[in-house]
Symmetry: C2
Subunit: 177 residues, 2 copies
């Protein structure tokens, strides 16, 4: 059951501020989703030689698919909150869920990007790219897109962390900023 | 009987709470420092073949040296705050400095660890460890120590983020929790 909003009577602006915050989060989720999905697609279309042979590229693919799916879910949660004025889960659970997943997935996707970049660089240094230039370019593109997705996920994590901290310190995520 | 105010002079415990928070932060910094320094030393003593040949191990070394130096500085700042009862820099600057550096260095050190782990695994898969077993073991140890340091730095980042959010939401980092 969605939790009712903790609206107080004293401040006339909270619903509008909350709406702006939700729109910002929705935008960050949308951009993260776009970059992560593009990174996963770049990896999966890289078939000569198969990307499945490289553990780090499998990690990049898995991390970006997870982040894209999570961002899609969070976009639905944000749209629900914007339309209904209440979080999908009870508010404290939703805020904890958002922040912990943002943090864990941000660390995961930056680690995957670093591992993928190390392998992409090794392939290039080893001369493998002379024969398979397309593979190397797509691998670089996938790693770069993954890092771009990470940057927006890290920003989303800052916003969700701030929301959670507001809730914890004042007992309300709605009208403390 | 009216309940004591959440903020302000009515609460007798804030200095003690602040002290506990500072001791927790000091402990996290100390553990992070220990792990990062140990990771850097493990890498730098790995001389056959030279770790300098591997870009990812150079990254692991640099990231852990930076985190160890930063943790040492933050330990001094924490001790200063515990002894003097005031932050080293003006409080908003100190809180922003701590949180931004915690976040950036946590992402950096987890990325370095992932790149190092990818290379350590490749060396093992390539059969290089049969001849140079000691190198591979030390590389694995360094990567594992770096990840342990990351875990405590990520925890410190949560605490410093919470302190910053408290300051931003209530205008005081001292007695809001």
């Amino acid at each position: 059951m969605p939790s009712p909003p903790h609206n107080g009577g004293g401040d006339a602006h909270p619903p509008q501020r909350r709406r702006h915050l939700n729109l910002l989060i929705l935008l960050l989720r949308l951009v993260t989703f776009g970059f992560s999905l593009a990174a996963a697609i770049s990896i999966v279309t890289n078939s000569s030689p198969s990307w499945l042979r490289f553990q780090s590229f499998r990690f990049v693919f898995a991390a970006n698919v997870i982040v894209a799916a999570y961002s899609l879910f969070e976009m639905c949660a944000s749209v629900h909150e914007i339309l209904k004025g209440a979080t999908l889960f009870p508010e404290p659970i939703q805020l904890c869920f958002d922040f912990t997943h943002d943090q864990v997935f941000a660390y995961m996707v930056v680690a995957a990007g670093a591992a993928g970049a190390a392998d992409a660089r090794r392939l290039r240094a080893g001369g493998a790219c002379a024969a398979e230039g397309g593979f190397c370019v797509l691998a670089d593109v996938a790693v770069a897109l993954g890092f771009a997705g990470f940057a927006f996920l890290a920003l989303a994590s800052l916003v969700s962390g701030f929301r959670l901290a507001c809730y914890v310190t004042t007992g309300s995520g709605l009208h403390i900023w």
